[in-house]
Symmetry: C2
Subunit: 131 residues, 2 copies
DNA sequence: CCCTGTACTTTCCAACGCAAAGCAACCCGC
DNA sequence: GCGGGTTGCTTTGCGTTGGAAAGTACAGGG
């Protein structure tokens, strides 16, 4: 079996793509919270991200455990309400992630521009067959 | 349980984030292949994305089944070699995905600029306690 | 009282990613 | 010419995860 020479040659390994952040639902939540730094209520967030209750609850916990958001349990009268906000660390990590995304996007656009018309050439001196 | 009003209010649902594409390893593979439209050999791709053999094999199949890449089995002398290329559909879907990413990135940068200094204000008329 | 609604939490299961093991063909030394 | 190593992948097995559904808790309303 072959060895991996780490990121020396691996320019497309995308090490910066943090698993916790790189996830549809969570990315949506964090984006919402970045746009609403004062925090969002459980149901506001749920609607913004189009998540089910259970789903949101689950992902919220993940983000909280990771220290990316802070969760406040509150009441008005006696109705419980949960408020979520980004932490400072959350902001930082999110922006770091976004920077990686930006890089990927730029590279992709660059690549797609560069490789517009590709010849049908496979490698010569080989016999290829599909699939 | 609450209903989801679809994407009317759900501006952060990120429906465009195709699951097949939105995945570290696969995103890396596709980026590599976009940058090398003539195709890449199994091991070239493996090194570029810093993947193990098994891993690459698995993800390649997923991408192939999704119609995003085409796979050519070939030989030189008698050594087998696998060549992978983007399909036209692959290119399209990838760029669509990248456009969504771009949007997310721009929104995030915008949001982070806008919400620089946030007051510590929670919602008034409530009693909050952490976690 | 009970029943409906709100506000979440927990449970369960299928799908997925990843590492390790497996397989097949070739090449080399002796 | 046949064992052992190498190359080039594939397959298997397992631990983790995301998501739907079910569950809990409490608060009005009839």
């Amino acid at each position: 079996m072959s060895k991996s020479e780490s990121s020396d040659t691996a320019q497309y390994a995308f090490d910066g793509l943090d698993r916790v952040l790189h996830e549809k639902a969570r990315l949506g939540m964090l984006s919402s919270l970045m746009a609403n730094p004062q925090g969002l209520l459980f149901n506001e967030l749920k609607d913004l991200c189009n998540l089910t209750d259970g789903n949101l609850s689950r992902h919220m916990q993940v983000l909280q455990d990771a220290g990316l958001v802070e969760v406040w349990k509150g009441t008005q009268g006696k109705r419980p309400q949960t408020l979520v906000r980004m932490t400072e660390q959350g902001r930082e990590r999110f922006m770091r992630y976004i920077n990686v995304l930006e890089q990927i996007v730029n590279d992709a656009i660059e690549a797609s521009r560069a490789g517009k018309q590709v010849p049908n050439a496979r490698r010569t001196g080989w016999d290829w067959s599909p699939a």
